[in-house]
């Protein structure tokens, strides 16, 4: 039996030690807290928020809540548009969305999935307040003037029994009242309800609900809402449009991810995109292959330079180091434009080759606006990221090892390959990781010198972020890229070992 060891103040030593340690840990945590919070707020959270957009899809359900509800019973494999009840719901949703100015935003969202929806929503939004549905309002008001009284409406709509009797009306009135307060800054008790509320009341009445004041609605010739939507744009009768709305009604979607691997949601589940719209898989593969080539070029060019730097006298080495760093101090755009001047067909390199006589004047080399151009320009831009880690690792390899190997009878090559090279591998690893990860994210240089076949997936991400505003697709493409990088990093760790990477001494 071990006896409890006591500290000087009479408490158990273990607890006392723990306390002291905990305090130390807390102090350490408090010291790094500013940085930790800064990184969380300014780096981790925005990235998480951006990645979340790749599945988020609340806009459809939020903008058209009644329509998506009504669509639940519609069979998407039908070859005709849904019935009048869906259009009635759309009428209410659209009239409200126009006041919130959210209908065009939804139109743009759905236009990513089916071309033409943007203008359908824009046009319908302009016309929906002028739909000819006065007959409902006129009939109710003619039957009893109370139906035109804003205050009376408010009293009805706060009566639980009437609300239960008139579900459709209640829903439309509540949406209207909320919109009035939020978008217009008016008070519902002072405004006569708009036409779509009377249209909703008519639907309740036809369904046999008990009205607050009985009105004979049998004489009303019902107005076809679908016909009025179709008059604005006949695509409203296209079942494809409704299929799109129904497909993208849920709060979350895998549509962006499918799109980013050239698939799409068709009528019968997931299908391939048509050949003339497939781009992303090709671009992902191309980005990987070209980044690996750039990385390889950097190793080939960077290794001898780093070796030279590490083995020259300090004075000369410093001078050369400045030359290596010089590109770092020049703007990226300037460097890229300089490559254009050098590489184009009427450029310096071609002129030189023609002058020497290596190349015929009418057969100048195509060195830019293709993959060659991208690889040359990016290798140049990323070379310092390879040279610097290589140099700092080589600096720590004692030259005496090579001399020892040679004195034991090794040839120059054996000495290098068996003794020197293995010790420089951590530098190669670090340089490769740096160059590769930087390369797959580059988009300015490929855009400027890549022509048609030398652009990367990041060019498309940039396009969707800044031009098409399809941030969901951009987020999905970005997520895939991130996952690929992490998978490669994991593979590297398994094969080479991440402990084997050194950025310096």
């Amino acid at each position: 039996m071990s006896e409890l060891v006591m500290a000087a103040d009479g408490r158990p030593l273990k607890a006392s030690l723990n306390r002291a340690l905990r305090r130390q840990k807390l102090r350490a945590l408090a010291l790094i807290a500013p940085l930790l919070i800064f990184i969380l707020v300014s780096f981790v959270m925005p990235i998480a928020d951006m990645l979340f957009r790749s599945v988020e899809n609340e806009i459809v359900g939020d903008t058209l809540p009644r329509t998506t509800q009504a669509l639940k019973t519609w069979d998407p494999s039908a070859d005709q548009a849904p019935g009048e009840e869906v259009f009635d719901a759309l009428y209410t949703d659209m009239a409200l969305a126009v006041e919130y100015k959210s209908h065009t935003r939804l139109g743009s969202r759905l236009n990513y999935e089916k071309t033409g929806i943007a203008s359908m929503f824009r046009k319908s939004g302009r016309r929906v307040s002028k739909f000819k549905t006065d007959v409902y309002k006129d009939t109710f008001v003619a039957a009893d003037a109370a139906y035109s009284d804003a205050g009376q409406w408010e009293r009805w709509m706060s009566d639980a029994e009437i609300r239960a009797n008139l579900p459709v009306t209640t829903d439309a009135y509540d949406g209207w009242a909320k919109m009035l307060v939020e978008a217009e800054g008016d008070v519902p008790g002072e405004e006569q309800p708009w036409n779509f509320v009377y249209a909703a009341l008519y639907q309740d009445a036809v369904a046999g609900a008990e009205l607050p004041i009985a009105v004979d609605v049998s004489a009303i010739e019902p107005v076809s809402i679908s016909a009025q939507f179709a008059a604005v744009d006949d695509s409203w009768l296209d079942p494809d449009v409704w299929r799109t709305i129904k497909t993208y009604a849920p709060k979350y979607t895998n549509g962006y991810f499918l799109n980013s691997v050239d698939l799409m949601k068709g009528a019968e589940g997931i299908e391939q995109r048509p050949d003339n719209e497939k781009i992303y898989v090709v671009l992902f593969v191309r980005t990987m292959i070209m980044s690996l080539s750039i990385m390889g070029m950097c190793v080939l060019l960077g290794y001898p330079i780093a070796w030279l730097l590490a083995n020259l006298k300090d004075r000369t080495a410093n001078l050369l180091m400045i030359l290596v760093l010089l590109p770092f101090w020049t703007s990226l755009l300037v460097r890229t434009s300089a490559w254009k001047v050098l590489l184009q067909q009427q450029g310096v390199i071609n002129d030189l080759l023609v002058w020497i006589g290596l190349v015929a004047d009418d057969n100048r080399l195509q060195l830019i606006n293709n993959q060659t151009g991208t690889i040359i320009a990016m290798t140049h831009i990323l070379l310092p990221f390879m040279i610097l880690p290589l140099y700092s690792v080589m600096k720590t390899i004692p030259p005496s090892y090579l001399r020892a190997a040679k004195s034991l009878g090794a040839t120059n090559w054996t000495a290098f390959w068996r003794v020197y090279f293995p010790q420089s591998v951590p530098g190669i690893g670090a340089g490769c990781i740096l160059v590769f990860i930087l390369a797959i994210g580059y988009y300015i240089t490929p855009e400027l010198v890549g022509g048609t076949k030398g652009v990367f997936i990041s060019n498309r991400i940039a396009y969707h972020i800044s031009s098409s505003l399809n941030w969901g697709l951009a987020a999905a493409l970005g997520t895939i890229l991130l996952v690929i990088v992490m998978a490669l990093y994991w593979a590297y760790d398994k094969i080479v070992g991440i402990d084997n990477v050194k950025l310096g001494g």
Binding site: R105, G107, N111, S119, N276, E277, K278, L448, S466, L469
Partner: protein, 368 residues
Amino acid sequence: MKTTMKLMATSCLTLTASMAFADGHMANEMTIVSWGGAYSASQQAAYHDPYMAKTGVNIINDESSAEAVAKLRAMNEAGNVTWDVVDVVAADAIRLCDEGLAMEIDADTQLADGDDGSKASADFGDLLVSDCFIPQIVYSTTVGYRTDLVGDTPPTDICALFDTETYPGKRSLEKRPVVNLEWALLCDGVPKDEIYDMLATDEGQAKAFAKLDTIKDDTIWWSAGADTPQLLADGEVVMGSTYNGRLFSLIEEKKQPVAMLWDAQMFDLDGWIIPTGLTPERQARALDYIMFATDTQRLADQAKYIAYGPARLSSAPLVGKHATLGIEMAPHMPTDPNNAKNTFLYNYEWWADYRDDMDAKFQAWLSQ
């Protein structure tokens, strides 16, 4: 001692002042976003300087128009819009309006009447392509060619782009579907008024791409406005598309052996939007600026500095000479009757719908 007090007082004042700045906007300051370069310089001379002299408002320039759409959305989501007036092309204005990021403008009440007494809505006419868009200039995408590389028969119409036998050599075209598809169909014999209907069909798109296929290997695709002028100046291409103002500066200012075609020039518009989410005070100031900067005289003034046509009908007679070159600017306006014999008006509604779809197809076609 006195010095110390003074120093302290000064630093206190500086601190307060910088905090007021940090708050976003001093009472008398506004941030105007535009494209930079010669274009911003023309706006500075024609709009900003007179406005600052007139009102005392200090205008800060931001050259972010190329990323305006994305940045405005990000600012709007963050609830902190730091821009007061933004210069964008009409297609972007439509997108911003759709996204609820630009405020709607009532032309007749919020814009100045024309000098000739016409209402703003009539003076701008069809150019008010979106409820949020206040047109400023008409520019066009057109073709320039090297006079020394086209032989004895300089091109006269747009289809020279597709005629690689008469005009061998590289061409440069913009790396996006807009304009290229229209020209391709036009040169494939489709009548001008049927082009957009045609492009809406799969066959029409296939036809347009097939026509572009014939010059795909001879084309350098540009993405920056400065590309074609540089390629023409270096003799890298024999002809290429770019904005008419760029060609004006290449021909008249830099005196390069280049000439331009006005045939089938594609009209496009550039103008202002006011972001949503401004405080009432800032919004009022932005509207006041817009009222001033888009009146008849101001729009005509801008043409002194850059070869883009004023968007108001009433400004056209007031266009004078270039401020430094001293040449008459009217004949260099895309809207000049001699130049506008055969023009093409970009169909905004159509492109707003088809832009994403066509862009995907165009990119797929490029990478094949």
